[in-house]
Symmetry: C2
Subunit: 210 residues, 2 copies
């Protein structure tokens, strides 16, 4: 396959050894071609537009602008380019920030080379490759607590409160009296040991009751 038909890849990674190692390994694949690599986001941003890649492998911990903050800047410059995080960090916070900012996939660095080129291919095909540990974090974030002290109705009302609805709007939407909603909210506050909407929402989200 000629280089022009391969997936054009750029690497942004500050460690020279890793950068060159990945470049070598990815170029060894028949379907990928590393067209550029940078050690800082600042450097990449000034030079990326001249030679736009299909996929960017992006580290998180970088000197200057972090990989997380780089995502929207790169997306702004090259809207069609897919960004694949490639990092050792797998905290829930970093994963969510990266995905919110627009990353298309998230790999941790222990992934073997075959997985990396497979992931590059998958992201090009519109997929969303993740390492197993990342998938677990993401799925777990959806799981609700099954030991909520709140009843079905109370949970329903608290969900609507967390959508910013007033008590009277909730009453209308649930076809019950305002007094009923007030009563439920009193019980919710009592069960959660809080005295405000804000604290009730925070409590419930922290404990995954909603």
């Amino acid at each position: 396959m000629s280089n022009e038909n391969k997936i054009q890849v750029t690497i942004i990674e500050d460690d020279k050894t890793i950068r060159e190692g990945f470049t070598y390994l990815i170029n060894a694949s028949p379907k990928c071609n590393v067209i550029s690599s940078f050690s800082t986001v600042e450097d990449a941003l000034t030079k990326l537009q001249a030679n736009a890649p299909n996929v960017i492998l992006l580290d998180i911990e970088l000197p200057g602008i972090s990989g997380i903050d780089a995502i929207p800047k790169i997306k702004n410059l090259l809207p069609k380019t897919h960004i694949l995080m490639l990092t050792v960090y797998d905290t829930e916070e970093l994963v969510f920030k990266a995905l919110s900012n627009g990353a298309s996939g998230y790999l941790t660095k222990n992934s073997n080379t075959e997985k990396i080129t497979d992931a590059i291919q998958e992201v090009m095909d519109g997929g969303a490759p993740m390492s197993m540990n990342i998938a677990k974090i993401v799925i777990k974030s959806f799981h609700k607590n099954t030991n909520s002290p709140l009843t079905k109705r109370e949970t329903e009302i608290l969900e609507q409160i967390s959508e910013g609805k007033s008590r009277s709007k909730i009453a209308k939407d649930l076809f019950v009296d305002l007094e009923t909603v007030k009563s439920h909210i009193k019980n919710i506050y009592s069960k959660l040991n809080v005295h405000s909407r804000e604290d009730a929402i925070k409590q419930a989200k922290d404990n995954k009751y909603i």
Copy 2:
């Protein structure tokens, strides 16, 4: 490998052909053993406890109790059992409901048999297997809109509003005057063409501005 050391699998699926097909194919794998299969959730719930599986393959569209509603009931009965959705439906709503209710993975039925037994193994190892299309839906749900009309500060304030905070609490937390927050909120409402917290939150979430 003796059957006792294999991963014990139960299938809940109303289509007899599919049920028997999967049973045959999974039993052909050296690491998995189908110990029971049911055509309804009702049937499964009365008989599952006697012979608890490690993993349950669960369809969504079933007569009577749906696969979605079955998840919390099964989890309640067998807290340690992993539930793997195996269905043709891949709408965002169903995927989120299944995961919220406690499913550990989600496969669409075009997955080939090798992938199914791999997924069973992965879920047993604490992973979260997903088909490529499901991973895409999940990741996409995290992506924020990069074309928000709101400024950074406005977005920040709207996020806090969506956490249920009052204007005065937001002012305190951001170390600015209440009047400033009021002013920002006025601008937010104007930009989003809304006239209440509720509508602002809904607009912003629908458009992924927050």
